[in-house]
Symmetry: C2
């Protein structure tokens, strides 16, 4: 794994901090200093004019448009219409004029540059002193905040002080002229006003709308003027600022989005104005954020004693995942880059159910349910997609915002079944932990049935009908592009049928009326249930009793062997440096595939079998997915390969902070952040939740003195504290269900439960 | 094979003829009535104004441009720059005004419409009588001709006669405003003149240029005026035409293309004006064409007695293939649609060496050599392409005009090795028939070496190095998209190494100096030769002695079986009606794959083995390639499956005439036309030229009384006449090499050699 870190920020347990300015790190910092609150996100770009390289990104979760390049595919079932999260209004833009000179960061000298983001408040602070002509020095401080309580609210707080008297003018804009991908523009102006109230209402080609309103207060008398231009409004404040006096400007921003197109602009405006007029001050919002994060850290913190870099890394992860998603809205999901960049188009992948879901399931089950509800709401699109693919039921997209398949690489969109099976896995996981029968009856069962229909119609029997499986698929290892009987896909397929059949039987027994309703609503027959049973029973799994190995797919062992250590480091990432098809012509794998289902269904496999497969597949894996190291770390730790487990762990926790993949400038690897959480809780904590009783088996790396983490099980909050000798589970209440602690089922009591390590 | 014919034209042995006008057949007729002379081509569209559906296509072989839609591929080795033969100057356009009313074919009544194309002259004639107001009837006759001797020359001959006095005005244009794909325009005007001389010089973005000149003569005094507009010039002729008097206009057209960009426009103009001034009259050109075709039919005719449809079908094929290519220029090749349409972008595929080459090799070896020289000239591009694919040597493109890969479907461009192996096959074929050692020494060997280099670097050994083969390939059967050890590819790969090694040994022995030169020029080492030997010896061929079957690729037998007869006829073509990946998930095949190499290396296989494989693979083949039925017909006839052989034959010979595939409107299936020739000569004639001695074993279908065909072997012209009882080979000279006639080697003598059937 030739990954080398590039550590730039200061190490601190509760914040990230950049001291001094480094031009070449500018865009990486923009990503790292991103703010978000699930509803919206903003990269840490500069407010004032500058010529630095920048991705000026402001995103509202769920606002998207379709690609201007309509790809016309000659073939059926290949998506020719892709959508993406669209860059939107710049609401922090300011233009500063001092003695009639516009301040451009790139053109002036400066000192004392610093930028910091505080995990306890979510406040972003940037400050520096501009060194101008004739000994004039002007101090700037830019603060920024998104409300975690009322997500439509954003704040900006600007302070300026000079060492001489100056003529100062500051122009505050709301500007929809942001270019997407630095090239395209999609917004149409529907309404605006520069005077009071100050707002712009923009509309996308999808007819979704965004109302951006602002209100500005300052501590000094200024001459105020207004300007309007296409898609933008501006308010300009002018004054004579005395030497050593501070002026501050507080901008309140309300961003009100309408995901569903409606015709009544005035309702939106009315609602927005009301929101703005009720908007608390910066100081009030700051205080509320402090409180919000206090509770968050109380419940979700992971503390690590003995390694400050890891401590900062994991807190940064937790902070960013909370910013990205916490279940505000059941039509939101988690993009690969969250709300921190345009790469991956804001799309949700199978990562959500596979890597992100456990965090919510074990911490905030309402958010976990919302993620499942997002899939339920997009069931119609998944059914439509299955039809496009000549299949039955529902095929969930590999990449989407609005539920439609938005990946125009057919090899991924048509051959990867893992989005659908991951949803079944998440429902199964959710039901196991929550026993939420209402969800199952009202939503879950329907998804299970439609996915099973899809899987059955997408699969096939062999010529002698002795086995069933999936032909022409791409498993999680995307370096085997189109294969038959990928064992991950078959395994997940088998488990999907099994769980669907179990749940049908469960509802039949416990909710007879509901069972009849479901059968009738979905036209489900006994015959269909029977064929699923046959497919489940005959699912082809390439397991060899003798070697105890699962073959990754039919024919995998026949592939030429490639010694991955022989690949020069300069060849990575391979997608850029190797011709496309070359990647596929050997036994190299990109990310865990066999090992992935051995993690997901961990209790199905003995350590002996796991070890055999780990030892076979790990040396063939180049970890070209950022999700790969964490899974390997978790399994290595299970197999007492502590050094290896630690090596993989280091990467995951500080992936973006140390820009391991050199692409953090495009945005944060949001879903990898969840994998980092799993790496601690499942890896070092040894938690397993794939079967009942759930299991816990903590270990501690040499480099740490102690660590702690939280999870919630059966509505009981549990804090786990681990040191070199023992570990303690602290519960708020007695727990009625057993947890298997180091192979023995234990009923935990309220208070401290201590075990030797 | 759910192919249903749509017979529309009159049956005639020496021409095609359309009597009466049928709107819905208009574009099909445009394709069928195409003229070409290798240098240029023109579809049979209307000269005068009309609103009929039309593809107004005029093409100059080798004039191309790059796609305006630059596809940016995220992956290495995927072509993001495609080029295509570009539609060019309309040089037959006329606008006719009668009594100040512009004649628009779609707006007037007409009678006596007819259109015919004469195989003995290449003259296209279209005539009808327009029925205008007040009993006015005007007869039009449009004739068109391309010179087969001086390919820059085109002709138009227009005759008009009315039953009343009329005011007539006729405007003749040279018009570069033609839209490509009905949408795009690429020509830039460099120079023009409407007066004498009349010309337009157009330039493409590739800097290739086309000079279009014309000269018009008429038999009556007219008032002549000139017009110029953007990219076009016009000459207008006005007169009072008396009742029952004929006026005729003769337009001479010279089209001079420059494939290589140069800076000197005036040279081109000078050359063009000289050509135009020497241009013979229509009547002279017509007479020369008659002579040209007389010789052509004397040498190449296939006569069929007893079935006029077949007779017309095969003559149409021969006529069109002669029009498309006869070796005028060694930088020309044969597009899938020839010069008759824009579909397939004028590209040359592996069809050239696989299906077209034998016709020339056995009839006009200079043209065969030119086709090989085309590949030699594009060797630099093939080497560049191999580099793009991280391979050594030369990888020939799957689709090209200028030698660069122009297929943006990576699965075809990167996975199909058959263009390169087909070139080796053609060189092998060529050497076997011609013993042209100069060609081998100067050009052939270099191509063989570079292709072997490519093949070796593209292939790989298995993990135990017991066998070599190709991973991640698409064989001729494009319904198995990406497989390992496709037997066609491995077989052709093996034969390519074998032939390269043989020829190296041959040159070493016979041309020692040349051998050293080649080694030194190409940096070829003994070591490299040795590894090819190893790859050849260890080539993995999936043959089972017990069943005598070749498996199409590793894992083919494991695929679910699809009964192709269960597919509804309305599902065809499958590419339009089935989702893309669905096509790949079963054992259905698109066109011969195992059977293809059993045809190409026919002498390697006993009839018993052939039969086993035919019986296994034919029922799995849906013939979605127009090239498929002929190969099946040839092999069926070899196996005495006469009825089946005949059924497949009927399709091939009249594929376009009867519009079997319903897409003749896009242009003619030029390469299928060659397959139709093979279907008679290799199928009924039983000719085999894949090994020495060549073999002949004629049979005759029940429906025919007799047939004859020609071929040339070792420079001796041979005419084969077959009737129900016997066949006769008529030679101009004694033949020094034996031909195997019905399994026995025979030395044929000058004159008639008759054998019982």
């Amino acid at each position: 794994m030739p990954k080398i870190k590039n550590q730039y920020l200061k190490v601190d347990p509760w914040k990230i901090e950049e001291v001094g300015y480094k031009k070449e790190e500018s865009m990486v910092s923009e990503s790292l200093f991103s703010l978000a609150n699930e509803y919206m996100g903003i990269r840490g770009f500069f407010e004032e004019d500058s010529d630095e390289k920048s991705l000026l990104g402001v995103y509202f979760n769920g606002l998207y448009t379709y690609s201007p390049k309509q790809i016309e595919s000659a073939y059926k079932g290949i998506t020719d219409k892709v959508h993406f999260m669209v860059n939107s209004v710049n609401w922090v833009r300011v233009q500063i004029e001092i003695n009639n000179q516009i301040i451009n960061f790139s053109e002036i000298n400066h000192k004392n540059f610093s930028r910091s983001l505080d995990f306890k408040s979510g406040e972003l602070l940037r400050s520096y002193t501009a060194i101008l002509n004739d000994g004039l020095e002007v101090e700037f401080s830019f603060k920024r905040l998104l409300s975690m309580n009322t997500p439509e609210y954003g704040y900006q707080y600007l302070t300026i002080k000079a060492n001489k008297d100056i003529d100062l003018a500051v122009k505050f804009s709301l500007d929809f002229n942001t270019l997407h991908w630095g090239k395209y523009h999609f917004w149409e102006e529907k309404q605006k006003s520069a005077t009071s109230p100050t707002y712009v209402l923009g509309e996308l080609p999808t007819k979704q709308r965004l109302l951006a309103l602002m209100h500005i207060e300052t501590n000094k008398d200024c001459e105020i003027s207004y300007e309007e231009s296409d898609l933008a409004v501006e308010r300009k404040y002018k004054l004579r600022l005395k030497k050593a006096e501070s002026i501050n400007f507080e901008r309140k921003f309300t961003g009100l989005k309408e995901k569903q197109a409606s015709e009544k602009s005035h309702d939106l405006l009315e609602k927005g104005l009301k929101l703005l007029s009720n908007q608390p001050s910066y100081q009030e919002a700051y205080a509320m954020n402090i409180k919000y994060y206090q509770e968050f850290w109380n419940n979700f913190d992971i503390s690590i004693k003995g390694n400050e870099e890891h401590q900062q890394g994991i807190r940064f992860c937790l902070f960013q995942l909370q910013q990205t998603f916490h279940g505000v809205d059941e039509t939101n999901n988690i993009g690969a880059k969250g709300l921190t960049g345009e790469a991956y188009s804001g799309h949700t992948f199978w990562d959500t159910e596979t890597f992100c879901f456990p965090f919510y399931l074990l911490n905030l089950s309402s958010a976990a349910k919302n993620l499942l509800m997002y899939r339920y709401h997009t069931l119609p699109q998944a059914k439509e997609r299955a039809k496009e693919l000549d299949c039955l039921g529902a095929c969930y997209p590999i990449a989407t915002l609005n539920g439609e398949e938005s990946c125009d690489l057919w090899q991924h969109a048509s051959l990867q079944l893992q989005p659908s099976t991951a949803i079944v896995y998440a429902i199964r996981h959710y039901m196991m932990i929550t026993n939420d029968d209402d969800f199952l009856n009202d939503y879950g069962m329907e998804m299970l049935i439609e996915i099973s229909r899809y899987l059955y119609s997408r699969g096939d029997f062999n010529q002698t009908r002795t086995h069933f499986g999936f032909y022409g698929v791409m498993g999680p290892d995307e370096f085997q592009m189109m294969v038959n009987h990928n064992t991950y896909t078959n395994y997940l397929g088998k488990e999907s049928f099994k769980f669907t059949l179990e749940m049908l039987a469960y509802i039949k027994e416990n909710y007879a009326d509901k069972y009849c309703q479901i059968l009738s609503k979905l036209n489900l027959t006994e015959e269909e249930i029977n064929i699923w049973q046959e497919a489940e029973a005959k699912m082809f799994l390439l397991y060899d009793e003798k070697t105890q190995l699962y073959e990754q797919h039919l024919g995998y062992y026949e592939l030429p062997h490639l010694d991955i250590n022989s690949i020069p480091a300069t060849d990575f990432p391979l997608y850029h440096n190797w011709t496309y098809d070359r990647i596929y012509r050997n036994d190299m794998i990109k990310q865990p595939d066999v090992l992935m289902f051995m993690f997901l269904f961990n209790s199905d496999f003995s350590n002996e079998v796991l070890q055999k497969n780990y030892d076979f597949y790990e040396p063939r894996c180049i970890h070209e997915s950022s999700l790969s190291p964490s899974i390997h770390s978790i399994l290595a730790l299970q197999l007492d390969k502590n050094e290896e487990g630690y090596k993989f762990f280091e990467f995951a926790t500080r992936l973006d902070l140390d820009n391991y993949n050199r692409n953090t400038l495009e945005g944060l690897h949001l879903t990898s952040i969840y994998a980092a959480w799993m790496n601690i809780v499942y890896g070092y904590g040894g938690l397993r939740t794939d079967a009942l009783p759930i299991r816990l088996n903590p270990t501690i790396p040499e480099a740490w003195d102690a660590y702690s983490f939280h999870f919630t099980y059966k509505s009981i909050k549990i804090k786990v504290e681990v040191d070199k000798k023992s570990f303690t589970l602290i519960l708020a209440e007695d727990l009625a269900e057993p947890i298997e602690i180091k192979t023995k089922p234990v009923y935990l009591k309220k208070g401290k439960n201590t075990f030797a390590i």
